[in-house]
């Protein structure tokens, strides 16, 4: 089921002013059925015209709330950052397929880059609820532009890399993962910038890997066929419908 509802904003606070925000929304219907990795299409204002796809960061079925973690990039996310508690927010969701959640024999690994960490938190919560042990590897450009670490450190062992070395290990997530025995994990999940995903794809033979992709979306509903990504078999699939989560082995990053 997909809903188009006016959620009520409970809070909308900067984690880092003008950069990353956390918004909590009262929206029972979506909270009831949302799965980790699914996303919302949000009307942020009269301009931009299109809704903006934003992942679900956290779901609280009891409180009937959903949260989003978002980075201000352009007009749409700027609009979002200016909304206040008690205002209504026009949301369509939950959309897309989600990550696989079940009890694994061995550990699970979450790999996030930048704002790509957003869909991983709810995933981590659900994996933990299912009784899994979790390790988390997150990459940011610097200490000043890293965020939400307190959330992820509650899920399991957290290791951070920053490009400038101002926090954790210097480099991308690769600097961390190159020292990992990936075959000790039953499953890895990743979301982040395309270069990171391309790198991770080279590891897909070592660990069962699910990737959450991004693509420019028109409808978010599977109708317009704009959001496609290339599959290894040469076909295109819709990121909004068959995705955003794909098995790494399905996805092709070749031109």
């Amino acid at each position: 089921m997909i809903f188009k509802n006016n959620g009520i904003i409970i809070s909308n606070e900067p984690i880092i002013e003008d950069f990353v925000y956390l918004m909590k929304i009262n929206e029972k219907n979506i909270a009831d059925i949302a799965k980790p990795g699914q996303f919302l299409e949000i009307k942020t204002g009269s301009v931009p015209l299109l809704r903006k796809p934003i992942s679900i960061f956290e779901v609280d079925k009891v409180a009937e709330t959903i949260s989003i973690l978002y980075q201000v990039k352009g007009p749409g996310t700027k609009n979002l950052s200016e909304l206040k508690a008690n205002q209504q927010l026009d949301i369509i969701g939950p959309l897309g397929t989600g990550f696989t959640v079940k009890k694994f024999d061995n550990k699970c690994l979450l790999i996030g880059g930048g704002i790509g960490i957003a869909p991983l938190y709810d995933l981590g919560l659900k994996l933990k609820e299912s009784g899994n042990e979790i390790e988390i590897v997150l990459g940011f450009s610097s200490k000043d532009t890293s965020y939400a670490l307190d959330y992820f450190s509650k899920l399991g062992t957290l290791t951070v890399a920053t490009m400038d070395g101002s926090l954790g290990i210097k480099g991308t997530v690769e600097a961390i993962l190159s020292n990992y025995e990936l075959n000790t994990f039953d499953k890895a999940y990743a979301c982040g910038p395309e270069p990171m995903l391309k790198y991770l794809k080279t590891l897909e033979d070592k660990v069962n890997l699910e990737l959450s992709l991004e693509a420019y979306m028109g409808c978010g509903l599977g109708a317009c066929l704009s959001c496609v990504c290339k599959m290894t078999d040469g076909t295109y699939k819709r990121v909004c419908k068959e995705g955003p989560v794909f098995k790494s082995k399905e996805v092709s990053f070749d031109e």
Partner: protein
């Protein structure tokens, strides 16, 4: 009496509000929002004789208050449509208008023939898709070829034929007259304007196909003008579209001469727009004390 009853010659719909091809899939994707039988009709995503994977992404971008798309007519082909899509679509309780494209005149004849089957209410003939390399746009800009396509379709089906016009022409009235003489029962208009957007940081076109179809609110004034011109030039009914987002927009098209309207890009912004328009036209008629929306078709010409 139903104030919105819509008779487009031999093609009838319960109301004049449809959804535009390529913006509504086959309807399935919108079923969660409302009962699709409320719609006058659904113009399904463009179908071609063979499966097409479509263009490389990035296929769509918002620009200047509208969007540019270059999907490249991605679809499973007509067999896939008949076997896997139509069976469900014909249960929706609304008219299923199948949008067809081809790269040759014969293709159109083949498509018309194949789709002359139960469950297909009418054929919308896309001679104006800007996103296909082979032919696509030429059919839509040359009156002789447009005539030939209309005639070919006519000869291969007894379904109502809707010829869809491209706005990217010098003289839209001549195109309309050409398809009318070719045998069109109805004209739908407009398809997208051809547009482009550039990423000034990357110094590259944003759409991988370089150009794409421009749609949404910014194209409305052009669409309205063309509907107004075509209304004067032909005797067959018009389904108007191009940037319709609300009741006022829909009424403008009807007053310009459209006997029905179609919501395209609007479906991405708010799936309920077609339903709101059905309600809104009824309210307008009530306020003006009119008993049928047909009273205002072409009203701006007086």
């Amino acid at each position: 009496m139903n104030k919105l009853e819509c008779n487009l010659g031999k093609f009838k719909m319960k109301n004049p509000v449809t959804v535009a091809s390529g913006t509504f899939g086959s309807g399935k994707e919108f079923k969660d929002f409302y009962d699709l039988s409320l719609l006058g009709g659904i113009m399904v995503k463009g179908t071609t004789p063979e499966k097409r994977v479509g263009n490389k992404p990035q296929r769509l971008v918002e620009t200047s208050g509208g969007i540019i798309n270059s999907i490249g007519l991605a679809n499973g082909g007509v067999d896939d449509f008949i076997n896997n899509i139509l069976p469900e679509a014909k249960t929706y309780g609304t008219e299923i208008i199948v949008n067809i494209s081809g790269s040759s005149i014969d293709d159109y004849g083949y498509m018309a023939d194949r789709l002359s089957i139960d469950g297909v209410s009418a054929l919308e003939v896309n001679i104006s898709c800007p996103n296909v390399k082979e032919g696509g746009i030429t059919f839509g800009t040359d009156p002789n070829m447009a005539f030939d396509v209309a005639k070919m379709v006519k000869n291969n089906t007894s379904k109502p034929i809707i010829m869809k016009l491209s706005p990217n022409v010098t003289n839209i009235a001549i195109m309309a007259q050409a398809v009318e003489s070719g045998g069109a029962d109805i004209i739908s208009m407009i398809n997208t304007l051809i547009g482009m957007a550039i990423d000034v940081e990357k110094q590259r076109p944003i759409i991988n196909n370089i150009i794409g179809g421009y749609s949404g609110p910014p194209i409305k004034p052009v669409a309205l003008r063309m509907v107004y011109e075509v209304y004067k030039a032909v005797n067959i009914p018009i389904i108007g579209m191009g940037g319709i987002m609300n009741t006022t927009d829909a009424l403008e098209f009807i007053m310009a001469g459209a006997s029905a309207i179609s919501v395209g890009t609007g479906n991405f912004v708010d799936p309920y727009i077609p339903i709101d328009i059905i309600k809104g036209i009824n309210e307008y008629l009530d306020n003006k004390g009119l008993s049928s929306y047909t009273d205002i078709i072409g009203a701006a010409h007086k």
